[in-house]
């Protein structure tokens, strides 16, 4: 029976929303006891002295793109797993927008097998909602769920046909499956590379109005009301979409929402002179939108912060802005970037880990994300204040497309444990 005692730790508890000194005893991969104040003498455990640094439940990152199968040169399960371990992410929930899409139990099994061989952290796969993510026919939701799919999503593609979408939602409800959708009115946002406004016009880039996001959300809210499905909006990035979300929650719909860390920490002006590492989908927004969304996370209206980890190689980024691929890697920078919100005084650490660990776990009915006895010992130890300048070539990901290259960040991960095992040592 292996025992590990974490002593002298600042325990970040997102359930009780507390931040106190204490100790934690881990037995056989699970948290067995939480001590306030100093730890008593427990016989024979291995001791980890946390030196007063923060110990929090490991991050559960929903919406990570691992480019297997199809584009393994961009990211593999090994590299993504190492990046996750380095970033304090203990569970990655993968996206099905690979080539081919993960839309059958067979391809899903491939993902699970590859992940189990290569990834040091937990990997939970999502599956496509429609075959080939084409928005025409629903996938075998029941079979996929049996095979281990934790949610169903067509990723950045919107199911434009409302009849198809409503049937998929209705069927998903019968399986109590979670549907994750990208909210964007596809007509209005067609061809867009940035958010419309003065900056877009000065740069001569095609823009999309923030209103397209609200229209997408409004449509989906109507469909959830109609079907009663369990629904999560992957990224809400604009102020205008927030009242609709708030109303839908108040009316008791089974809706939750997330936001990517980049939209919480960067704005449209960061694109500057056509820097394609800042090209995201949806595009970075105006500063007012960023602040409104940060506030929504603090208030708990937006439930989840994720990295929207999207590896892209240099070739797909070193192009004129309109032609360049969208997306940024984020597994390793998720925590330091999110800590900007803590250092700016927008959120305290328990609130931050409510959005990073607890809420995603709850959404997927996992026991992780908590520092309570009985929960799996998925833990991250970090120093929230340690400053560093990020060099993108030090990242574990195969792709280095981070917008934080050269950025001053605060917050270093000191250790990552999955089921009580130190996984960061392997990196």
């Amino acid at each position: 029976m292996t025992k590990t005692l974490f002593t002298n730790a600042r325990l970040i508890d997102p359930v009780a929303l507390t931040d106190t000194l204490g100790a934690l005893l881990v037995e056989d991969g699970a948290i067995s006891q939480v001590f306030e104040e100093a730890a008593p003498d427990v016989t024979g455990p291995q001791v980890v002295d946390c030196e007063g640094k923060c110990l929090a439940p490991g991050i559960v990152d929903i919406g990570v793109k691992v480019s297997e199968p199809g584009e393994r040169h961009k990211e593999s399960f090994r590299s993504a797993g190492r990046a996750a371990a380095a970033g304090g992410v203990t569970t990655i929930v993968t996206r099905p927008d690979t080539t081919p899409a993960i839309d059958t139990p067979e391809t899903l099994e491939f993902v699970e097998r590859r992940a189990s061989i290569d990834a040091p952290v937990k990997v939970l796969p999502m599956a496509a909602l429609t075959k080939g993510r084409d928005g025409k026919e629903m996938t075998e939701i029941g079979f996929l769920q049996d095979a281990g799919a934790v949610a169903f999503t067509d990723c950045d593609r919107v199911v434009t046909n409302t009849k198809v979408f409503s049937r998929a939602l209705t069927y998903a409800r019968s399986c109590d499956a979670l549907v994750i959708a990208h909210i964007q009115e596809p007509g209005l946002s067609e061809g867009a590379a940035v958010t419309s406004g003065k900056f877009a016009s000065l740069r001569g880039l095609p823009g999309v109005s923030p209103m397209a996001e609200r229209m997408g959300l409004d449509r989906d809210i109507s469909l959830i009301e109609m079907t009663g499905a369990r629904y999560h909006a992957d990224q809400i990035t604009t102020a205008r979409a927030l009242p609709a979300l708030e109303r839908a929650k108040r009316n008791g719909l089974r809706i939750t929402a997330g936001v990517g860390v980049h939209h919480l920490t960067l704005n449209e002006l960061d694109v500057a002179d056509y820097r394609t590492f800042f090209k995201l989908k949806p595009p970075l927004r105006a500063e007012e939108d960023r602040l409104a969304v940060v506030q929504a996370v603090a208030d708990g209206l937006i439930d989840i912060i994720c990295s929207m980890h999207t590896p892209q190689d240099e070739e797909s980024k070193r192009l004129p802005y309109e032609e360049a691929a969208s997306g940024a890697v984020g597994l390793e920078t998720l925590l330091p970037a999110a800590l900007r919100l803590y250092h700016a005084g927008h959120l305290d650490l328990p609130q931050l880990f409510r959005a990073l660990s607890l809420n995603p776990s709850k959404l997927l009915n996992l026991q992780t994300g908590r520092l309570t006895a009985g929960s799996p010992a998925d833990l991250v130890l970090f120093d929230p204040d340690a400053p560093f300048v990020l060099d993108r070539f030090t990242l574990q990901s195969k792709s280095k497309n981070t917008p934080f290259d050269g950025a001053r960040l605060q917050g270093k991960v000191l250790g990552t444990w999955v089921a009580g095992e130190d996984v960061r040592g392997e990196t």
Binding site: S196, G197, K198, F199, A200, S201, L202, R203, G204, L205, G207, S209, D273, Y274, E315, R318, L319, P320, Y321, E322, E323
Partner: protein, 320 residues
């Protein structure tokens, strides 16, 4: 004499004194465009015109400007060449760079593409139009035309009319004329106005008569039919009726107002033929003439900076 930039990528990064420097030099070239003296200016230098998008006028103007200054000019029609074979812009740039050109004149259908290319080459790069972003030499030639017609380039009331949203000419002109402290009015249907136009520091009108009231300069834009996804305006004839420049609408401008157009014109769509040909009002032919002079001046200044940088590099090598 201040013009230190290594490239001419847009009007946005230029200081008003740099703009004046280009215009002053262009003025001299305009007064004596064909002098054999000029042939020494770019003698021994190679100029490559890379046009990833069709152009007759701008390319001819750059070619003539280069030849008048004695450069060896080469034209590459990029849409017909390796781009079709899937070569990326960066690879094309690196290939050309290995041939050691001195001046690169680039037009590209994507905004920001010329900036990207300029980061990868040693030559001085001139932006001959990138997407919907900038077309700096057009704005400079417009400015020179205005300065010569009006005697000054400040405190003028200037209307820019038509398809502002798809126009790089409009963006560069708004930048330049704003930097020189003019009053700018943007006139056009709201569907052809860029988003965020209210924050541009310009007055915005969707009524031509109101917008043209007492302006000194009327700058018409081409209705970029090839850029239209379709559905920005109901029809050409309705557009002409509401936004085409004719004698009736021009009456609202000052009696001595000049009429400009970057060309090529759609007669009967954005401008009435008789206005375009009216030698008392239209300066459209002068614009073409100034185009060559401005491009001579811009290439002259960039070549001076290029030589200075090369000397520094050699000097530095000796010193070290």
């Amino acid at each position: 004499m201040t013009f230190r930039a290594p490239h001419l990528l847009g009007i946005e990064p230029l200081h008003p004194t740099e703009i004046t420097t280009v215009l002053d030099l262009a003025d001299q070239y305009a007064n004596d465009p064909g002098s054999p003296r000029h042939r020494e200016v770019l003698a021994g230098m190679t100029q490559i015109n890379m046009f990833f998008e069709n152009s007759t006028r701008t390319q001819a103007s750059f070619e003539l400007a280069g030849k008048r200054l004695g450069a060896d000019v080469m034209n590459m029609a990029m849409q017909a060449s390796s781009v079709k074979k899937g070569e990326t812009l960066i690879d094309t740039a690196l290939t050309l760079n290995a041939m050691h050109p001195d001046l690169l004149v680039v037009r590209h259908p994507h905004s920001g593409a010329v900036d990207l290319l300029s980061q990868k080459v040693n030559a001085a790069v001139l932006n001959a139009g990138d997407g919907k972003h900038e077309h700096p030499t057009q704005a400079l030639l417009d400015a020179l035309t205005i300065r010569r017609a009006k005697g000054r380039l400040h405190r003028l009331s200037i209307a820019i009319c038509g398809d502002i949203s798809h126009s790089r000419v409009a963006r560069s002109n708004i930048m330049l004329l704003g930097k020189m402290e003019n009053r700018i009015r943007l006139i056009g249907p709201p569907t052809l106005m860029p988003s965020g136009v209210a924050e541009f520091g310009c007055e915005v009108f969707d009524n031509m008569e109101e917008g043209l009231q007492d302006v000194d300069v009327v700058m018409m834009l081409r209705l970029q039919k090839e850029r239209m996804d379709g559905g920005f305006i109901p029809s050409e004839r309705e557009y002409y009726h509401r936004y085409g420049l004719d004698a009736e609408k021009l009456k609202h401008a000052k009696p001595d107002a000049i009429v400009m157009h970057p060309g090529p014109m759609n007669r009967g769509v954005e401008i009435d033929g008789t206005i375009a040909d009216d030698i008392n009002r239209s300066v459209i032919q002068t614009q073409v003439e100034m185009g060559v002079a401005v491009r001579m001046a811009a290439m002259d200044l960039l070549a001076r900076n290029l030589r200075a940088r090369r000397w520094e590099a050699i000097d530095g090598g000796v010193m070290a």
